[in-house]
Symmetry: C2
DNA sequence: AATGTAAGTAAGTAATTGCTTACAAATGTA
DNA sequence: TACATTTGTAAGCAATTACTTACTTACATT
């Protein structure tokens, strides 16, 4: 990967996540990245190809995070880790997660499969913890996580997310 | 309001909420609504004006819902009603709520003020219920609600929302 | 040094964008 | 009936869209 290729990917991520895929033109991306517009199409075929490359780059950064959770020996700790996931997103990964969540709401790009591995970990852990209905419990926690992610990614300026995590922990950790 | 004006508003709501504001052209809206494109601009000045009118229409349908919650005499019931809000959205109001939530993720349209009245009700109720930190508790519940809304609006086909509500109630209602 | 390949650009392309204009039909009001 | 206003349309507008073409520059391999 050349410098300009990286520049295109990074500015595209930044712009897509802040304004949305359709609101950003390839012309703008090229200008902000300091490259010619044609280069985008040389490297990524078309605009959707660029989006896919941006997503791929993000996923590769995220996968190890989930892998490290699977390795936790304590089931309860695994559940806790997933529930607190949004609070431990590094600032540098915010644009990627904002992109994920904004694309959720657009029919053309909605991908239900992405969250499945996370839910599977939850169901397995909750079953081990003898929950009567592990699946329903997992769905509930997945909803929580979506809510926490929304708050962390959109309201970090207006609300104290550290305190939010503290309040959450008081409820679930004895 | 004429029939065609209503047709424009309804198709715009449907298209905006499914594909996003920038992904939908005024040309498409006009075609789907069965009117000339010019009529959109006659009635709503410009595309953003149309979006505002769509939002206004939705808000007017939603406000009475919040008003009826305020009138509940029991503080705990008020908290419960807000927490369960997403589960009681009528199917006919899904497009409006999907639009609200999708716009949240676009910088140009993000409006933090919209959820404030709801949070205020929560803080007041939780204070009455003698919560030590009513504000933090309210923020947590607001996060829950965002998560439930996301689930209900996006995953109603793949998960059982009735069961989700049941599981939630087992946790919070004794 | 010669040559093939990848990286990069400038200047286009047709199609679509949001929006305007000029005019006609419908509707209300005296 | 006459006239004013609102509702509606068809055709066109400049600007922008995603994408292509024709070309040059840089770099690796023999």
């Amino acid at each position: 990967m050349t410098d300009k290729q990286v520049a295109i990917l990074q500015t595209a991520l930044e712009l897509f996540s802040n304004k949305g895929f359709y609101a950003v033109s390839t012309n703008l991306i090229a200008k902000e990245a300091g490259v010619s517009e044609g280069l985008i199409f040389r490297h990524f075929q078309n605009k959707v190809g660029l989006l896919n490359a941006v997503m791929q780059m993000g996923k590769e950064k995220v996968e190890p995070l989930l892998a490290s959770i699977i390795e936790l020996p304590d089931s309860a700790k695994r559940v806790q880790a997933i529930m607190e996931l949004p609070f431990h997103i590094g600032e540098q990964d915010y644009p990627f997660w904002r992109l994920i969540y904004s694309l959720k709401w657009q029919n053309d790009f909605y991908d239900d499969e992405m969250s499945k591995p996370t839910k599977d970990i939850l169901v397995k852990a909750l079953t081990e913890l003898k929950y009567a209905d592990a699946d329903a419990e997992a769905d509930l926690i997945m909803s929580y996580v979506d809510g926490f992610a929304t708050t962390v990614l959109l309201k970090r300026d207006s609300i104290n997310t550290a305190k939010l995590l503290e309040t959450l922990r008081k409820k679930y950790i004895q």
